[in-house]
Symmetry: D2
Subunit: 353 residues, 4 copies
């Protein structure tokens, strides 16, 4: 009869065996088998970086390095649960970048995908593959995998934004490529914001163009369009039990996520809304565009207010609360959900009541 | 050696054979072989229906039948090259529908896909699967395959629109289904124009909804958004050599055509623009939203002005001319190109110079 | 209050109006409205062509025309419900082709998609885009849209096969293209049956090749593999209630249908099997590879035996019966189901009990 | 004029700033900027595990632990460039599993995707979601993400196989799930090898089944079919300049990779073949089914013979040499290329000459 076998051996014999295996670059799986009924537990910690802490440090950085010394003047928001110089989660980096009046950040490209969510700006722009994209607070600008990009600030106030990247994912695979553009800045066309003119209107596409790249041809999503859309839907729909009115930014050529590795979302929580709790295998970085409230993450309360950044680890239960009696809260967020879906690794479930 | 064979037989013998075959429901292909190097030549004729002819007849129809007698008070624009009661092309019907103040056209659905392009209206609406969609001139409203729809006019002026349908295609396959809604009208929600609120903003989708139907969840495309989009792009891009600035209306869930069988397009021709000539296997119905000009179709000149309707047959060379010195011309059009692409039957080529 | 309106007009007035419309290439839809709760009823009739009738006529044709006179020596199986020279259904042509020892049928291509199902052959081959494909009884050979093909018989017996084509579909759209190859025959490579060598083994594909055409790169499906597959599955699975063990021939590059417009199927009915009845919007041409039985189509009994050809119209109820006590029956069939699915026009339902 | 700015600060000031940032879970990107024109360099080392080393240790393990003590009696092949207990590459684990006569390895499932490539067996089987799959040397058996599986050996000789898994990828994301089956073994049907019967024949699929899972419904690929396929193609095609005759195992429902994260390949190198060199961002684990030769990896020679296992790191130049004068060499391999393609992170280039 077929059955599981049991063998008695001394711990000494086994250790001798293990030692010998080690010399041959092998090791015994059973010695490190873990829980046979395991659920994931991320080392990533729920955490908030408050704007009141971030902004002064960003300003201080402008006194200490120029964009010549720092190709990118960027403060990385490092998850306290990870090694000091890792990302904000296992897959994502959330960084704060500041460009001062008169400065540029030189042109380069990389196969790391990135997004820029503008926090403060009264001018300034990013050039994405030759398309000059003006910055205004709340705007989302994509600099997808291998798109050349440089930043400039032609206004008289600092430009500060949230960078979102898939650095830990790509670095973890050890396949990160990066190249400087031959010049400091890219040549720019006569026309600004071309992607927005061509692809920014709902339900319409230039019939003479064919899109074959796996990321969105639309690279600028102005807050002046996103916020009214959230408000409009909030007036007529109840939205998600877990997220309120939540819109995914999409690639208009496919209806899918803006980039293969990173999904972006804009979210409205109604005054006093307290959402239901759920969890999913994707991790999420949130940025508070406007409002104040808190998010319960595996029982831990993360209080947030305008311009704060916080993370919810993978597979952590979470629910959101808008503390305002009269004003909606607006959140922007990004996650690696599209990557997990493509790999059949995305799961989601309501928290047990 | 293998070769083509030649056999001598009397015409008499052959005819006797053919006659016998006929009795057995067979026939000899070689007796009807046609040109071995054939290109298609459609029986469909280039043709214009002028608004100055259409409108008076539509008004006259309102004196002769009610929407009780005529489930749909519709004048069909029948291609003069086809049998009198066929469509406007081999695949498409272009019809004119009129609903008078106080009238309704009762609810039903069919697997024929349809679109409505509003020509005159100062009110009135179509209900599409419970969503009440207000009509304004230039608006496109979809009533896709199997969506329940009814029309109503609560204004004090006639509502007149262009119907576009794939009637000849579906009827030709002998698989048309139609069903009346149990009541004369559908129940409607509290909210009007829900599809537009949820899916009408460029590059955003409600993250809590999943689309599985093969047609657009967005069923209302207001001219108040389409026209500015055309103007905006005309200011920054040259567009198509054959069509000027031409936008395809898209299904925001896929980036593809609004319905599997019918593609819809909005087009701007610059003042005095004369496009290059090309041809394709899809046939096209055009409606002039605004402007005056002409289209050369296989050498035949079709002069058009505002609100006219005209057809370009499959595989006919065609080029467009805007006769205005100072104003753009705006055309709406629809074709079966998506169906042909899905069947690998779409071809396109520039006309020889 | 909004409601359907009723208008009284004399029949005379209406007819005068209709007459005037006719002059303007318009007609009133309501005059021809049909059943508002309509289900399709095809003009196509259920019909069997018996091999005992087909074969003598095919042989007789070889006495009356050569392949010089008849580019294709083909007897078309014309549905008796349609105009005498139309197809076997609204979308499909089923034809019988015969090539005699020493003969060739010259090379050409067309955007009509075709398949060849071999009935009799002890040699002979078809060349498909340079790939020489040997014929054996029961083999399926594809000559997809725009693939050059010529046939030759280097054996000492007639080669007879069933041609399946989408002629009525493409001709109905008036977009059929055809071109002769510059020479009578195509140059052929050193290697025969290359597509089978490269793509014929289950679950494997040449990793150095990329397929971008919308049809199968595998163009030869030998009966010597299909029949054992049917037998193997019949031993372990019950299959479809409506069709017994039914396998779809697939495009190994996509897992989908072999060609965008035509799906092909091989089917085994167990001894004495009587399937349940259903109907679908696709029409089907059947060929009996081996066996005897009958098919009930909308109550009409079509008796069939080996090598017969029969059609089931669109939306007709049908069920199959294998009359043998001890032998399976093997059917080959083809239909336009892939085209209907692509256009969201496919429906299927069990017959009411 | 906009330009890069330069700011002078003392190293001391900067370090003080960095220290303060650290307290706030932030760090300055510019302090760790790396090469602005970077290409990836994997920490993974080219390495061979020889069968002559592996087999004795596997046999020794059977003396030291039973399948009760070791849920899986598995020796992990740990890349010497990585931390001692990591995988064989950054994404893949290659392990050796041994099940002795009379033993079972109990049923469980996990969202880690796995494959089994049989090295030695004269019986034994794996049960995959109730389908009992017999093992023979050279067979590939899939146990995809979340499929229940247990192993058993009902023969009188050891069963030894190569396990391939995406452990480092899924563990790296911290989202690994695992669950034991309620019983030690799964109930099994009357029929063995059902997936092979239904999906194993080229170009055919059971028409009554619909596949919606993202992995292959075919989970058994017998070497008795793969080897002849390689030989057959080698007789008629030259194959890839870099890999000789290389076949990808495919999901017959899609034509794509067998699992979303892992691609599998079988490869034939002709006698004395020396392939050209190339590199790609995917890493590869090779297993020598039969033959002897070597692979040059970034200039390092990895000599291999039958049953050895070796790895080629991501972005490493590599070329293969079959040292036999008269016999082909047969390699099996697996890589994470499908995952990288889905994330737009796959790149490939020929090595500079």
């Amino acid at each position: 009869m077929l059955q599981r076998s049991s063998i008695t051996a001394s711990e000494e014999e086994r250790q001798a065996f293990y030692e010998e295996l080690k010399q041959q670059s092998m090791w015994p799986l059973w010695a490190d088998q873990g829980n046979p009924n395991g659920e994931p537990k991320s080392g990533v910690l729920p955490f908030v970086w408050h704007w009141r802490d971030i902004r002064p440090q960003a300003m201080r950085a402008t006194k200490l390095v120029g964009t010549k010394e720092a190709l990118r003047r960027v403060l990385c928001l490092a998850n306290p649960g990870l090694d000091g110089r890792s990302g904000s989660t296992r897959t994502l980096s959330a960084n704060i970048q500041i460009v001062m009046p008169g400065e540029i950040a030189r042109a380069h490209h990389h196969n790391i995908a990135a997004l820029r969510f503008i926090i403060e700006a009264s001018g300034g722009y990013t050039v994405v593959d030759g398309d000059i994209i003006p910055m205004a607070p709340g705007d989302l600008i994509l600099t997808p995998n291998w798109a050349y990009h440089d930043h400039a600030n032609d206004s008289d106030a600092p430009a500060i934004w949230l960078d979102g990247l898939d650095v830990p994912l790509v670095r973890g695979l050890e396949i990160a490529f990066q190249e400087e553009f031959p010049e400091e800045t890219q040549p720019i066309g006569e026309v600004a914001d071309l992607s927005l003119a061509k692809y920014g209107t709902g339900g319409l596409r230039p019939a003479w163009e064919t899109q074959t790249r796996p990321h969105s041809p639309l690279t600028h999503f102005p807050w002046s369009e996103v916020k009214p859309a959230l408000d409009r839907i909030a007036a007529v729909a109840s939205g998600s039990a877990y997220d309120g009115i939540i819109l995914e930014y999409t690639n208009p050529a496919t209806g899918g996520p803006v980039m293969p590795t990173i999904g972006c979302y804009a979210q409205l929580l109604r005054p006093r809304q307290h959402t239901e709790s759920h969890r999913h295998t994707s991790s999420t970085v949130y940025h508070v565009v406007e409002g104040e409230g808190y998010t319960l993450v595996d029982g831990q309360r993360l209080d947030w207010e305008s311009k704060d950044v916080f993370v919810v680890p993978a597979w952590a239960h979470h629910e959101h609360v808008n503390l305002s009696q009269g004003q909606p809260a607006y959140l922007f967020s990004f996650s690696e959900a599209p990557a997990l879906r493509a790999l059949d690794l995305y799961r989601e479930e309501p928290s047990a009541p």
